[in-house]
Subunit: 203 residues, 2 copies
C-alpha cells in the first residue's frame, strides 16, 4: 500500500494521528525500495504534516549476531529477483568494491509480498501474486574430483524467510573467526580458510 497509496495514507494526517508500521527500521527496510519511506516523508513535509520517526532494530545492525563486527561491513547490497526485462547486476560491482577494501558485505535477499502482476496492475485488479522469497536450494561443491576423502558437498535449505547472506572480507579479525565458528558446518575448515586464505592470526 505504501508504494501505491501514499496519498491515502496522508489523507487527513494533518488532523489525526496516522502511523505507518514497518518491519525493521523505517530507513533500513528490505521489503520495499529504500526510497519509499523517504518519499512519503517528503510528501508529508510538503503538505506541512509533522512527522516523527521511531527507530527499531533492523537486519542492518542485527546482522552483528553472526559474529562479524558491524564496523567491518561495507555497503549493504540487495540481490533482487530478475524479471524478463529487468536483470540488475550492480550488486556484483558493489560486492567487489567491498571485497577490494577487505570489508564484509551484507546481502539482502529480495522478497515479493503483495505484488500484482503487470497485467493486474494495468487493469487495476487487486489480485496479488503469492509471496516469493529468494530462497533457492543451494548446493556447495568443494574439491569435486579430489577423491572421497577431500570432496565435500553441502546442500542447504534455509527454511522460512527472511534470509540474508554475509560475505566475509579480508579484514577479518580473529575474534570474528572465533565467534562465527559456532555457526560453521565444518569448524575445522572454517578456521583453516580463515588462517590460510584470510591470513588471520589464529592459534
Amino acid at each position: 500500500m505504501v508504494e501505491t497509496q501514499s496519498d491515502e495514507i496522508l489523507h487527513n494526517a494533518d488532523t489525526e494521528d496516522v502511523s505507518l508500521l514497518v518491519v525493521g527500521d523505517p530507513f533500513g527496510c528490505a521489503s520495499i525500495p529504500a526510497t519509499t519511506h523517504t518519499d512519503i516523508l517528503l510528501r508529508a513535509r510538503s503538505l506541512r504534516i509533522p512527522t516523527r520517526i521511531i527507530h527499531n532494530a533492523s537486519i542492518m545492525n542485527a546482522m552483528g549476531a553472526c559474529g562479524l563486527q558491524l564496523y567491518n561491513f561495507g555497503q549493504t547490497v540487495s540481490l533482487v529477483f530478475f524479471t524478463d526485462t529487468w536483470k540488475p547486476d550492480s550488486f556484483y560491482d558493489r560486492i567487489k568494491e567491498n571485497v577490494s577494501l577487505g570489508m564484509h558485505t551484507l546481502v539482502l535477499l529480495d522478497i515479493k509480498v503483495k505484488e500484482q502482476s503487470e497485467e493486474n496492475l494495468a487493469r487495476g485488479r487487486k489480485i496479488y501474486e503469492p509471496p516469493r522469497y529468494i530462497n533457492t536450494l543451494a548446493i556447495a561443491l568443494s574439491r569435486v574430483g579430489g577423491g572421497p576423502e577431500n570432496e565435500r558437498i553441502v546442500a542447504e535449505k534455509f527454511g522460512e524467510p527472511l534470509h540474508s547472506l554475509v560475505i566475509a572480507g579480508k579484514r577479518l579479525h580473529h575474534l570474528e573467526v572465533d565467534y562465527a565458528e559456532a555457526f560453521a558446518i565444518d569448524r575445522e575448515n572454517w578456521r583453516r580458510v580463515a588462517k590460510e586464505v584470510y591470513g588471520c592470526a589464529l592459534e
Copy 2:
C-alpha cells in the same frame, strides 16, 4: 563494568538469568569497544552458559534519519579521543576508502564515561573521571577573504551528547539531497554544492 568485570557478570549465570543492558544494539554499541560484547559471549560459550541476544535500534541504522540512504553508507568509523601515547589516525584512511567509492561515512564520536585514570586503575581505586564527549566547538570558515558578500562563518555547538557525524559521498541521490535539505543551515548552498560538486541531477 563489562570491560573489567565480565567474570563477575558471568558468575552464577549458569543457574540464574543474567541480563546485560546496553545502549543501542549489543553489536553496534559506540560506548565500548565493539569486541567487548563478542568477548563476553565467547566466554559464556566456553563456560556452556546459554545466551540470547535481543537486538535494538542503534545509531548504525537510526542515522537514516538524516535522509541519506543506509545502502549508500560504507564502513562506519570511530573517531576516538587522542591521549599522550595513543593517537590512532586510521579513521582517516577508512573515510578515504569510503570517499573513493562515493559512499557516505558515519563517524561515531568517542565518549568516555566511567573511566578511571591510569593511576587510579593501577592502584585499584574506584575513582572515575568526569564523563567526556567529543563535542568541541567547531567553526567552519568558508571563502575567508572573499569579501563580506561571499564569506560565511558558522559556529556550531551541538548541545548534549551523543553526537555523530555523517560525511556524504559522491554517490548522492537527488532524493537524499531533498530530504536532508530540511536540516541544512543554508538550504540554497546545500543544493548548490549537491549539484555542482556532487553532480546531482536536481531541478
